[in-house]
């Protein structure tokens, strides 16, 4: 799983410590973290290159977003707007007692979409909050939009089957294949489920 983590800009040392802790905890969970704390890291560079090749937005390649929003940073609003628009699973963290205003209050009717979780943290609650969020993503509790381009050449036999299966239905061939992979491959792969279970333990 790939996560983009935005640590809001701040001069407060205590907040910076918390922000680094979030990054560490995410990495310990086994997720690949691309962070604003290290924007030119190898992973970030390779993702950017891939995005250029595919003509995609690099954020579209992320499985989830984590925003530490206790500092004053105009990028927070930008990332949250992207999260609302793209329905990307997003965790928005604010330190307990932070005076920074939550920009999500400006949404119409203050309706925070289901894919965005807002949590205030302090003390030892960070681990629990991050773990719960990763579990939710694993269980596909968020609505996922298929945004990663993947070209697959198929045989005439496969094409014939897909046509037979989906014509006169409201399901496209691509949707049918996506759901088939989730239901018949991923969910039934015991080894993979054990592997994910090990990764999330810490």
């Amino acid at each position: 799983m790939k996560v983009y983590y935005l640590a809001s800009q701040s001069n407060k040392e205590a907040l910076k410590e918390s922000q680094l802790k979030i990054k560490r905890l995410l990495e310990q969970s086994g997720v690949v973290v691309v962070s604003s704390l290290n924007p030119t890291g190898d992973m970030a560079s390779s993702l950017l290159e891939r995005a250029e090749e595919l003509g995609q937005s690099v954020l579209d390649q992320m499985d989830a977003l984590v925003v530490e929003g206790s500092g004053n940073d105009p990028e927070i609003g930008y990332l949250l707007a992207y999260a609302v628009s793209s329905k990307k699973p997003t965790l928005y963290l604010m330190e307990k007692g932070s005076q920074t205003r939550n920009p999500l209050v400006f949404l119409t009717n203050k309706n925070i979409p289901k894919n965005i979780i807002v949590r205030s943290y302090g003390g030892t609650s960070l681990e629990k909050i991050l773990y719960e969020m990763l579990q939710q993503i694993e269980k596909s509790d968020f609505v996922e939009a298929p945004t990663i381009k993947f070209t697959l050449r198929i045989t005439p036999q496969i094409e014939q089957y897909l046509h037979w299966k989906t014509h006169n239905t409201k399901t496209s061939k691509a949707d049918f294949l996506r759901q088939l992979i989730i239901d018949e491959v991923i969910k039934k792969d015991e080894d993979y489920r054990k592997y994910r279970g090990r990764k999330n333990k810490h």
Partner: protein
């Protein structure tokens, strides 16, 4: 302490089509359509306070020079009240409008960002399903990026499309990349990666008084020469209502006789002729003929139209055209 929330003026000039949550395509055709449209993209309000203004709703090919002037005047009217401006615009003619604004809005100290969408053909098979799945992510992403840029430290007219911010006078259509319909002939003004990274050598915000120069002359004819073309015959077909002519002669060597013909035509019809050619010295002594530096074709046309709106004096036209007003020249000229 919270940073003061920025205010952005969102001007509607076409290019606003997007897909609602219930998979209907909606666009702003009149002022009354704005509230419903804004409700569909309420995420923009997370970034800044947005004030919408209806300007125009026709198709891309009906965005005339009068609309360019109208956009410039609306921006001038509101200039001191907002931190930046975003204009929704159809992408087919966006280069013309953005170039026009680059010339009309002088001493610009804030960002003016054009973005938008193409008209989507809802009759394409699978379009409804695609909209259900993606809710027209393209325009939404463009709008989010444009509003974000409009609150940043920038004082230029730019076009936001895909993952690039392009300088208005350096933008041309690109067929090479699915997400980026347009490309730049120079450096990018900004790029979208995990956030938006602006070019270091961009114009920064400054507290200046915006100077509005919205006048424009629309009766300009463009003639693209090909080898062996009978220039005189072509020019004689022109209506007497034409106020100026642009001749693109980059691929054709103009003979001395051609220059003489053009001078004579210019004198008889009392129209200035702007010529784009490799050897500008050919025009040094020519009366009524003005050398046109290399620019993107749409930009050079708009600049000529704008210059004619400011003056009819040949010497003043020559000075205006020669000056690199909005970084419109190409090839390091």
């Amino acid at each position: 302490m919270n940073i003061k929330r920025k205010k952005i003026c969102l001007l509607f000039c076409g290019g606003s089509i997007l897909v609602s949550r219930d998979s209907k395509s909606i666009k702003v055709l009149a002022k009354k359509d704005i509230p419903r449209w804004m409700n569909e993209v309420s995420e923009l309000k997370i970034i800044a306070e947005i004030d919408p203004v209806f300007v125009f709703s026709g198709s891309s090919d009906s965005i005339s020079p009068e609309v360019w002037s109208r956009l410039a005047k609306e921006i001038k009217k509101r200039y001191n009240s907002y931190d930046g401006f975003v204009i929704t615009h159809d992408f087919d003619s966006i280069v013309y409008s953005s170039a026009a604004l680059s010339f009309m809005l002088q001493n610009l100290g804030k960002p003016v960002i054009l973005t938008g969408s193409h008209e989507v053909n809802e009759n394409i098979k699978g379009a409804e399903k695609m909209f259900q799945n993606f809710r027209n992510l393209g325009i939404r992403a463009n709008l989010i990026n444009a509003v974000q840029v409009a609150i940043m430290n920038l004082a230029e007219v730019g076009i936001m499309y895909g993952n690039r911010l392009l300088q208005a006078t350096q933008t041309q259509k690109s067929l090479s990349n699915a997400i980026n319909l347009y490309d730049t002939t120079g450096e990018y003004l900004g790029k979208v990666d995990f956030g938006i990274r602006l070019a270091e050598d961009r114009q920064l915000r400054r507290k200046t008084a915006l100077v509005l120069r919205p006048m424009i002359e629309r009766s300009v004819f463009v003639l693209h020469l090909y080898p062996g073309m009978d220039i005189v015959a072509a020019l004689n077909l022109l209506s007497r209502d034409i106020k100026a002519i642009i001749i693109r002669a980059a691929d054709v060597a103009l003979k001395t006789a051609d220059i003489k013909h053009l001078e004579k035509f210019s004198a008889e019809r009392k129209v200035p002729i702007f010529i784009q050619l490799d050897d500008k010295q050919q025009l040094d002594q020519a009366k009524g003929l003005i050398y046109l530096p290399t620019m993107i074709p749409e930009v050079s046309l708009v600049k000529v139209m704008w210059a004619l709106g400011q003056t009819k004096s040949i010497s003043q036209l020559r000075s205006l055209i020669k000056e690199n007003l909005a970084n419109e020249f190409l090839n390091g000229q």
